[in-house]
Symmetry: C2
Subunit: 191 residues, 2 copies
């Protein structure tokens, strides 16, 4: 089997198990078993459990961030926020387990991973931030808006709502969820 194929199988297995029970409870034995690979292969490919987790996070966050940036590319500032929110919903819909893992690990405190949290903030939340900043620069949003906090708020809101969506109403169309979220963000709530 090719090296990259093996690594991806391990990523998938690890993401699922960590999303279910957390990092510590996902044993290397079980991850290897689910990936259909011997335990030693994990250490041949990554060197340690921690290193595998770091590689997995980098791989996923990079893709997540790229999906968000691609969604906004080329659009008018007016449309970018909606597009980014839609892209975040879509990505989470397709990579639900990874999103759960992300939510749990990003806001962990003392843990072993200051690196992980920073990565997520730079790549994923950063993409949202850039869109908000573009809207401010275009004179579309108030110039005194706290851009970082707004980006974090939008990202967190979409992330938690998306996971509720997948958990409680998985059959509901993405557009429904997207519409409600955008209504909330645009203040179209009041009568």
């Amino acid at each position: 089997m090719s090296r990259t194929a093996t690594r991806e199988r391990l990523f998938t297995a690890a993401i699922e198990l960590i999303a279910e029970r957390g990092f510590a409870a996902a044993s290397v034995d079980r991850i290897a078993e689910r990936a259909g690979v011997a335990k030693g292969t994990v250490y041949y490919n990554f060197g340690s459990k921690n290193a595998m987790f770091t590689a997995l996070l980098e791989y996923g966050v990079e893709r997540f961030g790229a999906a968000l940036r691609d969604a906004a590319a080329g659009l008018a500032p007016l449309d970018q926020l909606g597009a980014v929110v839609r892209a975040e919903l879509a990505f989470i819909g397709e990579h639900e387990s990874f999103a759960r893992l992300l939510l749990a690990e990003t806001w962990r405190s003392g843990g072993d991973w200051p690196h992980a949290a920073r990565l997520i903030r730079e790549r994923a939340i950063g993409a949202v931030r850039d869109v908000v900043q573009a809207a401010v620069d275009a004179g579309e949003l108030r110039t005194d808006l706290d851009v970082d906090m707004a980006a974090s708020a939008v990202f967190g809101m979409v992330l938690t709502v998306a996971l509720d969506w997948r958990t409680l109403q998985p059959d509901r169309p993405l557009d429904d969820v997207h519409a409600t979220l955008m209504d909330l963000l645009r203040g179209r709530i009041a009568t």
Copy 2:
């Protein structure tokens, strides 16, 4: 030492350790040590590590939900949402570790505790839901608003923003954060 005092010391110690590294990595030995209590006391009081965790969650979520409900009590529907958001921020500011643990456990998938997630949704998010519903009933919000999703969105947004606040800008006044959040929710963002 009284039974309840012992339990609370154990709760505090367990919450901190679990928030730092997750449930599996927080050993009973270390929890007992941090609480200044013998290991046997844990088993005398709770019977098992899982049972302690369940009791801890019930205790914390109950208090969290009560804080949110108390904040809204007696206010006009117009003011309730702001009060609930403020109460959520304040509670997280005072019980940061518990909030981290809550975030990680609520949106976990397969885990050992579907019970935990349901509890949080009923008690904590439920308090937000009631406030949103009251606003709808008072004709203050659109009647076609998806109340459950809006409540979940507000709760998740405030939770993630609050933890970013504590992590990245702990010295910032609560009122600042509150104002930005309410601006976002009221659509006062556009120029």
